[in-house]
């Protein structure tokens, strides 16, 4: 058994050290800032800050990055409510009722309930993570290379089939991501491939460059194109929700926790999906569905709860299988790998103090966010209206510094530049971005596990279907693809990816 109360308590002891508390706090602040700023999301935010954390010890660094992540998921709601700018796609449902409440002068209660709901769902989600992840990791101890290959294959196929109606474009996006990561050296033999004789290309394409380019740079291009300037702010009168408000929302909070957590375990079910599902569920079971869209307080509680439950749930597959289910998780995975920590069952076995410290710090971080955000809402709302002409160039600066400092190669910055332009065109032309990001992060592990599997089986690919667990994963992957193809054939619309979240 990989879980024990002793480990968890030790984790809390580590997380409560002054240094780690400080980094969790800084992470929460930076994360909320990233969530509040519309031009930058959790994935690109973590990606551009990742290289700068190398001065910290691994535990503090990951504690900080996790804090940035859930802080960002949290911060999106503030601006959605106060200024009707959802910082991330997952905050769109929050804006629907939250901004209505704000217009009625109830921005305070809306923000309060968003904070409380995030806290309740986030913490319950963490309880789920605490017990579920070691359980799954124990199960995954039996995994060999074929199972890992099949698992990652399944993860990719789910992400593709969930990326809207554009299955073919999802496959193309994935293939391009894999192609980019093939460039450079063969991880096993070190032989050059697809370099066209160029020395620069030998270094290979770093996935941080891919992520920062696809998200941050292309987002800046979108905003530059529309000449986004400034926005109106509503006035905030009363601050706290009443007990009656909270009582009214308890059901919504608990239901959205369930929805957010369990859907969040699936690869590809980003918060942008689960928040809409939770919102829709509340509307369906409500006795007064007509209030939704006109300032229903449950309409704020439900998506915010689902949002945070999903972000906690995303850590389950990440820690227990090493499988990122969303781009931001892929960036965190990259962060772990930068420190030589390979997520998966062995992480629980070999570095229990690390895993449990990070998990424990998330409980603390959730409390910090609650305490921090209620009084600071006014400040965050003001930051959100930093005009884009100032913010945009600063995002570009952070992207350049972030990608350069991974390996101190100007080549990486150029790659980011190219992927920025590519991301812009992909989004314009309806190609989903998530499969490309996940493929570029997973590529090396995919290739290594494939090679190892074929070594075990002496070259026979049958190994993936003769081993039961791997056969199940491959089967699920095929099902996901077949379902996607079926949906495609039935619909006669051209392929356009849904505008997706980067969560």
């Amino acid at each position: 058994m990989l879980f024990s109360w002793e480990y968890l308590l030790q984790g809390f002891a580590t997380a409560f050290s002054l240094q780690n508390l400080l980094w969790a706090f800084i992470g929460c602040m930076i994360g909320t800032l990233i969530g509040v700023l519309p031009g930058i999301g959790p994935s690109s935010g973590i990606a551009i800050l990742l290289p700068l954390t190398t001065v910290l010890p691994p535990t503090s660094a990951i504690i900080m990055m996790a804090a940035i992540y859930y802080g960002a998921m949290y911060g999106g709601s503030t601006t959605a409510i106060v200024v009707n700018i959802p910082g991330e796609a997952s905050s769109v449902p929050t804006a629907m009722d939250g901004y209505e409440m704000a217009k009625q002068g109830r921005a305070g209660p809306a923000l309060g309930i968003a904070a409380i709901s995030s806290f309740v769902a986030g913490t319950l989600g963490l309880v789920g993570l605490t017990f579920f992840a070691p359980f799954l990791a124990g199960f995954a101890l039996a995994f060999g290379p074929p199972e890992y290959f099949a698992l990652m294959f399944m993860g990719l196929s789910l992400v593709i089939s969930l990326s809207g109606r554009a299955l073919l474009k999802g496959i193309i996006s994935m293939a391009l991501g894999l192609l980019a990561s093939l460039i450079g050296q063969n991880p096993l033999t070190g032989a050059a491939r697809l370099t066209f004789g160029s020395v620069d290309l030998m270094a290979g394409v770093s996935f941080i460059s891919v992520i920062v380019g696809l998200f941050a740079i292309s987002e800046v291009m979108f905003n530059v194109e529309q000449a986004v300037k400034a926005i109106n702010v509503t006035e905030i009168r009363d601050w706290m929700p009443t007990w009656a408000d909270i009582k009214q929302c308890i059901g919504a909070m608990l239901r959205s926790t369930g929805v957010g957590f369990f859907l969040g375990l699936l690869p590809g079910c980003a918060p942008s999906v689960t928040t809409f599902v939770a919102y829709d569920l509340e509307k369906r079971i409500s006795k007064h569905p007509e209030r939704f869209g006109h300032g229903a307080i449950e309409g704020v509680a439900a998506p915010e709860g689902a949002n945070n439950a999903t972000s906690s749930a995303g850590f389950v597959p990440l820690f227990s299988f090493g499988l990122p289910t969303a781009p931001s998780m892929a960036v965190l995975l990259g962060g772990l790998m930068m420190y030589g920590l390979q997520p998966g069952p062995m992480l629980f076995k070999q570095n229990p103090q690390f895993v449990w410290a990070v998990i424990a710090s998330m409980y603390i971080g959730n409390i910090m966010l609650l305490v921090l955000n209620l009084p600071l809402v006014g400040m965050w709302a003001r930051i959100a209206i930093i005009p884009f002409p100032v913010l945009g160039p600063l995002i570009v600066l952070c992207s350049v510094v972030g990608t350069y400092s991974i390996r101190f190669l100007m080549f990486d910055v150029w790659v980011m530049f190219i992927f920025g332009i590519m991301g812009y065109f992909m989004r314009k032309l309806g190609y989903p971005i998530a499969p490309m990001v996940l493929a570029s992060v997973l590529a090396q592990m995919l290739e290594t596990s494939l090679q190892q599997s074929l070594l075990i089986s002496q070259g026979s690919p049958l190994i993936f279907i003769t081993r039961p667990i791997s056969a199940v994963f491959i089967g699920l992957a095929i099902l996901a693809i077949v379902r996607g193809v079926w949906v495609q054939i039935k619909s006669h619309a051209p392929e356009i990816a849904l505008e997706e979240d980067e969560g």
Partner: protein, 155 residues
Amino acid sequence: MKTQRSADIAGGCFLTFLGLVTIFAATRIKGGMEERLPPRTLPYVIGFIILVSGVFLAIRSWRFRGEDPVIKWPDRPGTIRIFVTLVSLLIYIALMGLLGLPLSTFLFISFLVWYLGRYRILYALFIGFLSGLISYILFIYLLELSFPVGPFLVR
């Protein structure tokens, strides 16, 4: 490239070409067949997937008869703004090795803030100066990361 259909036909053709290039480049990878996973296999597979999906996308869109959404390309001023932003980023990256991080940052941020926001030049220069200064203090002085410092500053 005005509508989704024409863009997808063009995209399909481009991907077909890219798939062919990949397969061609893969034939030139050195390495023996003695490995369990021959070094050319994965590039071939990926190239093949790109080729086939490209052909498929092009044909599918070619034969597509239905409501054809118009792609929201930027208007003329928007295109110019994107172009200028990208060119200034290009120059920024290219100059960084020569001028160093702080100075090139100062120039880049000042220009772009001024260009995108039409603020007073002094305000833009102030933001640029602040960014350059912070990047120097934070990345070069405090974190001691090996960024190019440029000819006028010391590490």
